[in-house]
């Protein structure tokens, strides 16, 4: 299935979830979609719906409340899927890692495939990050859950 494998890399649809992000990373993710950076060149669309998405882009650190949401969104994405953690917060919690309501980086909850450092990372860096994560999309892991 060469063509499918090839296509996977050419059409990574993203779903963006803002955990504890301060919006800085957030708007930089959105800025990637705008004419100046236009990630649709790579087939990237922000679909907003985990069920359609291939790449989960997470900005910000994880707290007690959004951890369950993050988990749930990830659960609803079909394999193959990748997770990109954006910004210092997404990677480790950054400047907030000492806060009482911060669990830490995204990797506390999900397996992360690419870490994008910076605060806030530039759109260029975010594009890099998504591209880095693409290799994860090539292989398709099957997670056998119960089938009704």
């Amino acid at each position: 299935m060469g063509i499918i494998k090839e296509s996977r890399k050419k059409s990574p649809w993203i779903v963006h979830f803002d955990c504890n992000s301060c919006n800085g990373c957030d708007i930089e993710v959105l800025a990637c979609l705008t004419p100046i950076y236009d990630v649709e060149r790579f087939g990237i669309i922000n679909v907003g719906n985990p069920k359609h998405a291939d790449v989960l882009v997470v900005t910000g650190s994880v707290n007690y409340r959004n951890a369950r949401v993050l988990r749930n969104i990830y659960d609803q994405m079909p394999e193959p899927r990748a997770v990109v953690a954006i910004g210092a917060c997404g990677c480790t919690g950054g400047i907030f890692s000492d806060c009482y309501n911060v669990l830490g980086g995204v990797d506390k909850v999900l397996p992360v495939d690419a870490y994008v450092p910076g605060c806030a990372p530039k759109p260029e860096a975010i594009i890099d990050g998504i591209v880095t994560a693409l290799s994860r999309l090539e292989e398709r892991k099957i997670n056998k859950n119960e089938v009704e």
Binding site: P35, D38, R41, N46, P78
Partner: protein, 293 residues
Amino acid sequence: MTEYLLNIDMHYAYIILLTIFVGPVVGGLITGIDRKLTARLQGRFGPPILQPFYDFFKLIGKERFAVNSTQMIYVIGTLFFAVTALIMFTTGMDMLMMVFVLAFSNISLIMGAMSVRSPFSKIGAQREIIQMMAYEPVILLMVVGIYKITGSFMINVPFNSYGRPLIADLPLLFFAFSYILTIKLRKSPFDYSTSHHGHQELIKGLTMEFSGLQLAMIELTHWYEVVLLMGLVVMFWAQPIWAGILLAIGIYLIEIIIDNICARTTWKWMLKMTGIVGLGTALTNIIWLYLAK
């Protein structure tokens, strides 16, 4: 005529095969060009033209998961009936029946969306029903208008035997049809039930709960539908055929432009406007035909 109809020979087999296989290629290309052009209109670089196909193949290769085990049946239903409608079109059958079959395709999708408990897909389905309520009458009136001047419901008549371009007699109906084309193509300002860009209150609405292969098939259905709708546009200027194709290209361009210069409105507004503009013009045209007789 009856002879012609009843004669099932290889001729049909070829047409059917051609429809099934070439249809989506054309549809996909149209979508690709649409996306590229849209990007350019927004001052972006845009995706490659083959992007829809990448998307399609990627979706096929995704993990198959569903919210319930019946979803796939509805998806097959919608795909099948869309293909059937297109086949009915290419083999020149009854237009009215084709419209019904197309509606069935749509209803199948609605059923699929309603078969899950997700609020977004359910509300999307409700809106889709409302949209259907808005555009079905116009399409039916279009069919009637065509019947009025050609004396037949058969699609092959305007293509083969009726000499004049339909648009000469049905300019207003053509306008009404282009108007609802925006609804059918799910373009702004009428993309209520699902939009190309998921940034609306229902996210992806109708297609919310379909993923992977199912979504790919819905996309495929959409391509067939696009081809069919464009075919209907061509029908308005079927002789010479290139004029019709030019017409279709022109209409599609206008659709893209409209998509880019309009905000999404609300369905109440759509109902009102389709009632006034769509039905109004279509009716005017038909009444005019009656009077002209």
